[in-house]
Amino acid sequence: MAEIIAGVGTSHVPAVGAAIDHSKGDQPYWAPFFDKIAPARDWMAETQPDVCIVVYNDHASAFSLELIPTFALGVASSFPPADEGYGPRGVPAAEGHPEMAWHLAESLILDEFDITIANKLPIDHGCTVPLSVMYDQPESWPCKIIPLCVNVIQYPAPTGNRCYNLGKAIRRAVDSWPGNERVAIFGTGGMSHQLQGERAGLVNTDFDLAFMDRLVSDPAGQAQVPHTEYLREAGSEGIELVMWLIMRGALDDQVREVYRAHHVPTSNTSNGLIILENAVSVTDPAAA
Protein backbone atom coordinates (compact mmCIF):
# COMPACT_ATOMS: atom_id res chain seq x y z
CA MET A 1 0.00 0.00 0.00
CA ALA A 2 0.92 3.61 -0.35
CA GLU A 3 2.49 5.21 2.67
CA ILE A 4 2.55 8.70 4.16
CA ILE A 5 6.21 9.07 5.00
CA ALA A 6 6.39 12.64 6.22
CA GLY A 7 4.70 15.95 6.73
CA VAL A 8 6.07 19.36 5.87
CA GLY A 9 4.71 22.59 7.31
CA THR A 10 5.82 25.70 5.50
CA SER A 11 4.78 29.27 4.85
CA HIS A 12 3.95 30.14 1.26
CA VAL A 13 5.05 33.76 0.95
CA PRO A 14 4.96 35.16 -2.62
CA ALA A 15 8.09 37.22 -2.03
CA VAL A 16 10.01 34.02 -1.31
CA GLY A 17 8.94 32.69 -4.69
CA ALA A 18 10.00 35.94 -6.32
CA ALA A 19 13.37 35.81 -4.54
CA ILE A 20 13.95 32.31 -5.91
CA ASP A 21 12.70 33.19 -9.40
CA HIS A 22 14.93 36.24 -9.58
CA SER A 23 17.99 34.71 -7.91
CA LYS A 24 17.96 37.06 -4.93
CA GLY A 25 18.92 34.36 -2.46
CA ASP A 26 22.39 35.79 -1.89
CA GLN A 27 21.15 39.26 -1.06
CA PRO A 28 21.56 40.33 2.59
CA TYR A 29 17.81 40.44 3.11
CA TRP A 30 17.27 36.90 1.87
CA ALA A 31 20.47 34.99 2.62
CA PRO A 32 19.64 34.30 6.30
CA PHE A 33 16.28 32.83 5.30
CA PHE A 34 17.69 30.61 2.58
CA ASP A 35 20.46 29.43 4.89
CA LYS A 36 17.75 28.23 7.26
CA ILE A 37 15.84 26.26 4.62
CA ALA A 38 18.92 24.60 3.12
CA PRO A 39 18.75 21.59 5.48
CA ALA A 40 15.09 21.08 4.53
CA ARG A 41 16.07 20.95 0.89
CA ASP A 42 18.76 18.42 1.71
CA TRP A 43 16.18 16.30 3.53
CA MET A 44 13.83 16.54 0.56
CA ALA A 45 16.55 15.51 -1.90
CA GLU A 46 17.35 12.52 0.26
CA THR A 47 13.75 11.54 0.98
CA GLN A 48 12.41 11.82 -2.60
CA PRO A 49 8.69 11.27 -2.09
CA ASP A 50 6.85 9.98 -5.15
CA VAL A 51 3.80 12.10 -4.46
CA CYS A 52 3.29 15.35 -2.57
CA ILE A 53 -0.19 16.23 -1.38
CA VAL A 54 0.02 20.00 -1.05
CA VAL A 55 -2.58 21.55 1.24
CA TYR A 56 -2.77 25.23 0.45
CA ASN A 57 -5.18 28.05 -0.12
CA ASP A 58 -6.01 29.79 -3.34
CA HIS A 59 -5.70 33.58 -3.24
CA ALA A 60 -8.34 34.76 -5.71
CA SER A 61 -6.65 32.90 -8.53
CA ALA A 62 -8.54 29.71 -9.41
CA PHE A 63 -11.54 30.53 -7.26
CA SER A 64 -13.26 33.88 -6.87
CA LEU A 65 -16.23 34.89 -4.76
CA GLU A 66 -18.47 33.25 -7.35
CA LEU A 67 -17.80 29.84 -5.89
CA ILE A 68 -16.09 29.18 -2.57
CA PRO A 69 -15.40 25.52 -1.89
CA THR A 70 -14.16 24.84 1.61
CA PHE A 71 -12.06 21.89 0.41
CA ALA A 72 -11.24 21.23 -3.26
CA LEU A 73 -9.05 18.37 -4.42
CA GLY A 74 -7.21 18.57 -7.75
CA VAL A 75 -7.64 15.41 -9.83
CA ALA A 76 -6.17 16.73 -13.09
CA SER A 77 -3.14 15.33 -14.86
CA SER A 78 -1.47 18.73 -14.84
CA PHE A 79 -1.79 21.95 -12.88
CA PRO A 80 -0.43 25.10 -14.56
CA PRO A 81 0.86 28.02 -12.52
CA ALA A 82 -1.85 30.67 -12.23
CA ASP A 83 -1.68 34.27 -13.40
CA GLU A 84 -2.09 36.23 -10.18
CA GLY A 85 -1.78 39.54 -11.95
CA TYR A 86 1.93 39.50 -12.78
CA GLY A 87 1.71 36.79 -15.43
CA PRO A 88 2.22 33.18 -14.28
CA ARG A 89 5.33 32.33 -12.25
CA GLY A 90 8.05 30.81 -14.40
CA VAL A 91 7.88 27.47 -12.63
CA PRO A 92 7.01 24.08 -14.11
CA ALA A 93 3.42 22.94 -14.31
CA ALA A 94 2.77 20.37 -11.62
CA GLU A 95 2.19 16.84 -12.85
CA GLY A 96 -0.83 15.38 -11.11
CA HIS A 97 -1.68 11.84 -10.14
CA PRO A 98 -5.28 11.46 -11.34
CA GLU A 99 -5.68 7.82 -10.37
CA MET A 100 -4.60 8.36 -6.80
CA ALA A 101 -6.37 11.71 -6.54
CA TRP A 102 -9.67 10.19 -7.64
CA HIS A 103 -9.18 7.45 -5.09
CA LEU A 104 -8.62 10.11 -2.43
CA ALA A 105 -11.75 11.98 -3.52
CA GLU A 106 -13.90 8.87 -3.45
CA SER A 107 -12.48 7.68 -0.17
CA LEU A 108 -12.89 11.09 1.48
CA ILE A 109 -16.48 11.53 0.36
CA LEU A 110 -17.46 8.04 1.47
CA ASP A 111 -15.67 8.87 4.73
CA GLU A 112 -18.10 11.81 5.01
CA PHE A 113 -15.70 14.58 3.97
CA ASP A 114 -17.72 16.07 1.12
CA ILE A 115 -14.86 17.41 -0.88
CA THR A 116 -15.12 19.42 -4.11
CA ILE A 117 -13.50 17.73 -7.09
CA ALA A 118 -11.45 20.02 -9.33
CA ASN A 119 -10.55 18.94 -12.85
CA LYS A 120 -9.20 22.38 -13.69
CA LEU A 121 -7.09 24.05 -11.05
CA PRO A 122 -4.40 26.59 -11.88
CA ILE A 123 -2.16 26.68 -8.81
CA ASP A 124 -1.05 29.98 -7.35
CA HIS A 125 1.79 30.85 -5.00
CA GLY A 126 0.07 29.01 -2.19
CA CYS A 127 1.01 25.74 -3.89
CA THR A 128 4.01 26.68 -6.02
CA VAL A 129 6.05 28.53 -3.38
CA PRO A 130 6.20 25.53 -1.00
CA LEU A 131 7.47 23.45 -3.92
CA SER A 132 10.12 26.08 -4.62
CA VAL A 133 11.04 26.22 -0.94
CA MET A 134 11.64 22.46 -0.85
CA TYR A 135 12.91 21.81 -4.40
CA ASP A 136 14.45 25.15 -5.49
CA GLN A 137 14.42 25.45 -9.30
CA PRO A 138 14.24 22.05 -11.02
CA GLU A 139 13.25 21.83 -14.70
CA SER A 140 10.29 19.76 -13.59
CA TRP A 141 9.02 19.01 -10.11
CA PRO A 142 10.53 15.64 -9.11
CA CYS A 143 7.26 14.26 -7.73
CA LYS A 144 3.63 14.02 -8.65
CA ILE A 145 1.46 16.60 -6.97
CA ILE A 146 -2.07 16.42 -5.63
CA PRO A 147 -3.24 19.89 -4.62
CA LEU A 148 -5.80 20.23 -1.87
CA CYS A 149 -7.18 23.74 -1.79
CA VAL A 150 -8.76 25.07 1.41
CA ASN A 151 -10.83 28.23 1.78
CA VAL A 152 -9.27 30.42 4.42
CA ILE A 153 -10.13 33.80 2.85
CA GLN A 154 -13.89 33.92 3.19
CA TYR A 155 -14.70 33.70 6.89
CA PRO A 156 -15.16 31.17 8.32
CA ALA A 157 -12.34 28.87 7.37
CA PRO A 158 -12.92 25.26 8.37
CA THR A 159 -12.21 24.73 12.04
CA GLY A 160 -8.88 23.44 13.20
CA ASN A 161 -10.60 20.31 14.38
CA ARG A 162 -12.24 19.73 11.01
CA CYS A 163 -8.86 20.16 9.35
CA TYR A 164 -7.18 17.78 11.77
CA ASN A 165 -9.85 15.15 11.15
CA LEU A 166 -9.64 15.65 7.40
CA GLY A 167 -5.97 14.83 7.72
CA LYS A 168 -6.87 11.60 9.43
CA ALA A 169 -9.29 10.78 6.61
CA ILE A 170 -6.54 11.50 4.07
CA ARG A 171 -4.35 9.07 5.98
CA ARG A 172 -7.01 6.36 5.73
CA ALA A 173 -7.41 7.09 2.03
CA VAL A 174 -3.68 6.86 1.33
CA ASP A 175 -3.40 3.70 3.41
CA SER A 176 -6.13 2.08 1.30
CA TRP A 177 -4.56 2.99 -2.06
CA PRO A 178 -3.07 -0.18 -3.58
CA GLY A 179 -0.06 1.54 -5.15
CA ASN A 180 3.33 1.65 -3.49
CA GLU A 181 3.82 5.40 -3.60
CA ARG A 182 5.74 7.12 -0.83
CA VAL A 183 3.72 10.22 -0.04
CA ALA A 184 4.64 13.47 1.67
CA ILE A 185 1.92 15.85 2.75
CA PHE A 186 2.47 19.61 2.97
CA GLY A 187 0.51 21.91 5.22
CA THR A 188 1.19 25.44 4.06
CA GLY A 189 0.50 29.08 4.90
CA GLY A 190 1.09 31.25 7.93
CA MET A 191 2.76 31.72 10.19
CA SER A 192 1.60 34.87 11.97
CA HIS A 193 0.92 37.70 9.56
CA GLN A 194 -1.62 40.36 8.87
CA LEU A 195 -1.64 41.92 5.44
CA GLN A 196 -4.69 44.15 5.88
CA GLY A 197 -5.93 47.14 7.80
CA GLU A 198 -4.33 49.51 10.27
CA ARG A 199 -2.88 46.50 12.13
CA ALA A 200 -0.96 45.31 9.04
CA GLY A 201 2.45 43.88 9.84
CA LEU A 202 1.48 41.99 12.97
CA VAL A 203 3.94 39.23 13.87
CA ASN A 204 3.73 37.00 16.93
CA THR A 205 6.79 34.80 17.19
CA ASP A 206 5.79 33.44 20.60
CA PHE A 207 2.52 32.22 19.12
CA ASP A 208 4.27 30.69 16.12
CA LEU A 209 6.82 28.75 18.14
CA ALA A 210 4.15 27.54 20.55
CA PHE A 211 2.06 26.46 17.56
CA MET A 212 4.93 24.36 16.23
CA ASP A 213 5.51 22.84 19.67
CA ARG A 214 1.88 21.88 19.99
CA LEU A 215 1.66 20.68 16.41
CA VAL A 216 4.25 18.08 17.36
CA SER A 217 3.14 17.11 20.86
CA ASP A 218 -0.54 18.03 21.23
CA PRO A 219 -2.20 18.43 17.83
CA ALA A 220 -5.63 17.44 19.14
CA GLY A 221 -5.35 20.26 21.65
CA GLN A 222 -4.17 22.77 19.06
CA ALA A 223 -7.10 21.69 16.88
CA GLN A 224 -9.48 23.09 19.51
CA VAL A 225 -8.12 26.63 19.22
CA PRO A 226 -10.92 28.85 17.90
CA HIS A 227 -10.60 31.11 14.88
CA THR A 228 -10.74 34.31 16.90
CA GLU A 229 -7.61 33.34 18.80
CA TYR A 230 -5.73 32.95 15.52
CA LEU A 231 -7.13 36.25 14.23
CA ARG A 232 -6.22 38.11 17.39
CA GLU A 233 -2.87 36.49 18.15
CA ALA A 234 -1.52 35.53 14.72
CA GLY A 235 -3.14 38.18 12.55
CA SER A 236 -6.01 38.01 10.12
CA GLU A 237 -4.00 35.90 7.67
CA GLY A 238 -2.47 33.75 10.42
CA ILE A 239 -5.67 31.70 10.24
CA GLU A 240 -3.95 29.88 7.36
CA LEU A 241 -2.21 27.81 10.02
CA VAL A 242 -5.26 25.55 10.28
CA MET A 243 -3.97 23.96 7.08
CA TRP A 244 -0.93 22.65 8.96
CA LEU A 245 -3.36 20.62 11.05
CA ILE A 246 -4.50 18.73 7.95
CA MET A 247 -0.90 17.68 7.40
CA ARG A 248 -0.52 16.74 11.05
CA GLY A 249 -3.71 14.68 11.05
CA ALA A 250 -2.33 12.52 8.26
CA LEU A 251 0.65 11.51 10.40
CA ASP A 252 0.87 9.13 13.33
CA ASP A 253 -0.11 10.40 16.77
CA GLN A 254 3.58 10.21 17.67
CA VAL A 255 5.93 12.00 15.32
CA ARG A 256 9.59 12.83 15.20
CA GLU A 257 10.52 16.44 14.53
CA VAL A 258 13.24 16.21 11.90
CA TYR A 259 13.78 19.89 11.29
CA ARG A 260 12.44 23.28 12.24
CA ALA A 261 13.21 26.76 11.01
CA HIS A 262 11.74 30.14 11.78
CA HIS A 263 12.57 33.50 10.28
CA VAL A 264 11.23 37.04 10.54
CA PRO A 265 10.54 38.73 8.24
CA THR A 266 9.86 37.47 4.77
CA SER A 267 8.00 40.46 3.39
CA ASN A 268 5.15 40.92 5.89
CA THR A 269 5.19 37.39 7.22
CA SER A 270 6.67 35.32 10.00
CA ASN A 271 8.06 32.36 8.10
CA GLY A 272 8.07 28.87 9.56
CA LEU A 273 9.10 25.46 8.34
CA ILE A 274 8.83 22.11 10.06
CA ILE A 275 9.46 18.55 8.92
CA LEU A 276 7.80 15.68 10.75
CA GLU A 277 8.20 11.97 10.25
CA ASN A 278 6.16 9.22 11.79
CA ALA A 279 7.98 8.11 14.93
CA VAL A 280 8.04 4.51 13.76
CA SER A 281 8.14 4.12 10.01
CA VAL A 282 6.35 1.06 8.66
CA THR A 283 9.27 0.61 6.30
CA ASP A 284 11.75 0.60 9.14
CA PRO A 285 13.10 -2.97 9.28
CA ALA A 286 13.59 -2.64 13.02
CA ALA A 287 9.86 -2.17 13.42
CA ALA A 288 8.91 -5.19 11.32
Binding site: S64, Q196, E198, R199, A200, L202, D206, E233, S236, N268
Partner: protein
Protein backbone atom coordinates in the same frame (compact mmCIF):
# COMPACT_ATOMS: atom_id res chain seq x y z
CA UNK B 1 -29.14 39.48 -6.82
CA UNK B 2 -26.22 41.74 -7.37
CA UNK B 3 -24.71 41.54 -3.94
CA UNK B 4 -23.65 45.12 -4.22
CA UNK B 5 -26.09 46.84 -1.90
CA UNK B 6 -24.18 48.54 0.87
CA UNK B 7 -25.65 47.62 4.20
CA UNK B 8 -26.17 50.64 6.42
CA UNK B 9 -24.56 50.08 9.76
CA UNK B 10 -27.04 49.61 12.56
CA UNK B 11 -30.12 49.11 10.43
CA UNK B 12 -29.65 45.54 9.30
CA UNK B 13 -28.96 44.19 12.73
CA UNK B 14 -25.43 43.00 12.28
CA UNK B 15 -24.78 40.28 14.76
CA UNK B 16 -21.91 41.06 17.10
CA UNK B 17 -18.94 38.76 16.72
CA UNK B 18 -16.22 37.97 19.19
CA UNK B 19 -13.61 39.27 16.76
CA UNK B 20 -15.19 42.73 16.51
CA UNK B 21 -12.86 44.04 19.21
CA UNK B 22 -9.66 43.23 17.29
CA UNK B 23 -8.36 46.66 16.26
CA UNK B 24 -7.49 47.65 12.70
CA UNK B 25 -8.75 44.36 11.27
CA UNK B 26 -11.54 43.69 8.76
CA UNK B 27 -12.63 40.10 9.06
CA UNK B 28 -14.01 39.02 5.70
CA UNK B 29 -17.24 37.52 6.92
CA UNK B 30 -20.53 37.20 5.12
CA UNK B 31 -21.69 40.77 5.64
CA UNK B 32 -18.33 42.09 4.49
CA UNK B 33 -18.36 39.79 1.48
CA UNK B 34 -21.86 40.87 0.43
CA UNK B 35 -20.93 44.52 0.60
CA UNK B 36 -17.74 44.03 -1.35
CA UNK B 37 -18.79 41.55 -3.99
CA UNK B 38 -18.65 43.83 -7.02
CA UNK B 39 -15.52 45.58 -5.77
CA UNK B 40 -13.70 42.31 -5.26
CA UNK B 41 -14.84 40.87 -8.56
CA UNK B 42 -13.53 43.97 -10.34
CA UNK B 43 -10.17 43.37 -8.69
CA UNK B 44 -10.28 39.68 -9.55
CA UNK B 45 -10.81 40.53 -13.22
CA UNK B 46 -7.30 41.99 -13.31
CA UNK B 47 -5.91 38.46 -13.19
CA UNK B 48 -6.45 38.36 -16.95
CA UNK B 49 -3.97 40.16 -19.16
CA UNK B 50 -6.59 41.37 -21.63
CA UNK B 51 -8.57 42.92 -18.80
CA UNK B 52 -5.45 44.63 -17.49
CA UNK B 53 -4.96 46.06 -20.96
CA UNK B 54 -8.55 47.25 -21.12
CA UNK B 55 -8.31 48.88 -17.69
CA UNK B 56 -5.09 50.60 -18.74
CA UNK B 57 -6.63 51.91 -21.94
CA UNK B 58 -9.91 53.18 -20.50
CA UNK B 59 -10.06 53.03 -16.69
CA UNK B 60 -13.40 54.76 -16.40
CA UNK B 61 -15.07 52.74 -19.11
CA UNK B 62 -13.70 49.55 -17.64
CA UNK B 63 -15.06 50.42 -14.20
CA UNK B 64 -18.47 51.07 -15.75
CA UNK B 65 -18.66 47.34 -16.33
CA UNK B 66 -18.81 46.70 -12.59
CA UNK B 67 -21.67 47.62 -10.30
CA UNK B 68 -19.61 49.57 -7.78
CA UNK B 69 -21.14 51.99 -5.32
CA UNK B 70 -19.98 55.60 -5.77
CA UNK B 71 -17.88 55.24 -2.61
CA UNK B 72 -16.23 52.07 -3.89
CA UNK B 73 -15.56 53.66 -7.26
CA UNK B 74 -13.92 56.66 -5.65
CA UNK B 75 -11.82 54.42 -3.42
CA UNK B 76 -10.64 52.51 -6.48
CA UNK B 77 -9.96 55.61 -8.55
CA UNK B 78 -8.07 57.29 -5.74
CA UNK B 79 -6.36 54.08 -4.63
CA UNK B 80 -7.63 54.42 -1.06
CA UNK B 81 -6.43 51.02 0.12
CA UNK B 82 -7.87 51.21 3.63
CA UNK B 83 -11.20 52.57 2.46
CA UNK B 84 -11.52 49.70 -0.01
CA UNK B 85 -11.35 47.29 2.93
CA UNK B 86 -13.90 49.32 4.85
CA UNK B 87 -16.24 49.15 1.85
CA UNK B 88 -16.13 45.36 1.65
CA UNK B 89 -12.82 44.75 -0.07
CA UNK B 90 -10.67 41.78 0.79
CA UNK B 91 -6.92 42.28 0.76
CA UNK B 92 -6.22 39.37 -1.58
CA UNK B 93 -8.60 40.93 -4.09
CA UNK B 94 -7.66 44.58 -3.62
CA UNK B 95 -4.02 43.56 -3.91
CA UNK B 96 -4.74 42.64 -7.54
CA UNK B 97 -5.17 46.37 -8.12
CA UNK B 98 -1.94 47.03 -6.26
CA UNK B 99 -0.15 44.51 -8.48
CA UNK B 100 -1.62 46.35 -11.46
CA UNK B 101 -0.07 49.53 -10.10
CA UNK B 102 3.27 47.83 -9.51
CA UNK B 103 3.02 48.12 -5.73
CA UNK B 104 4.31 45.65 -3.19
CA UNK B 105 2.37 44.34 -0.20
CA UNK B 106 4.62 46.37 2.06
CA UNK B 107 3.75 49.56 0.20
CA UNK B 108 0.06 48.79 0.58
CA UNK B 109 0.57 47.80 4.21
CA UNK B 110 2.26 51.13 4.87
CA UNK B 111 -0.62 52.99 3.27
CA UNK B 112 -3.27 51.10 5.24
CA UNK B 113 -1.49 51.59 8.54
CA UNK B 114 -0.65 55.24 7.95
CA UNK B 115 3.13 55.15 7.85
CA UNK B 116 5.73 55.53 5.14
CA UNK B 117 7.01 52.53 3.21
CA UNK B 118 10.40 53.01 4.85
CA UNK B 119 8.86 52.99 8.31
CA UNK B 120 6.76 49.93 7.55
CA UNK B 121 9.64 48.03 6.01
CA UNK B 122 11.88 48.83 8.97
CA UNK B 123 9.15 47.73 11.38
CA UNK B 124 9.09 44.33 9.66
CA UNK B 125 12.88 44.02 9.75
CA UNK B 126 12.72 44.84 13.45
CA UNK B 127 10.38 41.89 14.02
CA UNK B 128 7.01 43.20 12.90
CA UNK B 129 4.16 44.82 14.77
CA UNK B 130 4.02 43.26 18.22
CA UNK B 131 0.84 41.55 19.32
CA UNK B 132 1.28 43.25 22.68
CA UNK B 133 -0.89 46.33 22.79
CA UNK B 134 -2.58 45.37 19.52
CA UNK B 135 -5.00 42.62 20.53
CA UNK B 136 -8.02 44.67 21.64
CA UNK B 137 -9.64 47.86 20.48
CA UNK B 138 -9.56 49.28 24.00
CA UNK B 139 -5.76 49.08 23.93
CA UNK B 140 -5.80 51.43 20.94
CA UNK B 141 -8.41 53.73 22.44
CA UNK B 142 -6.20 54.22 25.48
CA UNK B 143 -3.46 55.68 23.32
Amino acid sequence: MTGTEPQPEGTTGRQPRDYDDIPGTYVFDGQHSRRGYALNMFCMSLNEAENRDAFTTDPSGYLDGFDLTPEQRTAVEERQWLEMLQLGGNIYYTFKLAIFDGLSMQQVGASMSGVTFEEFSQMMIDGGRSADGNRYQHEWNAN
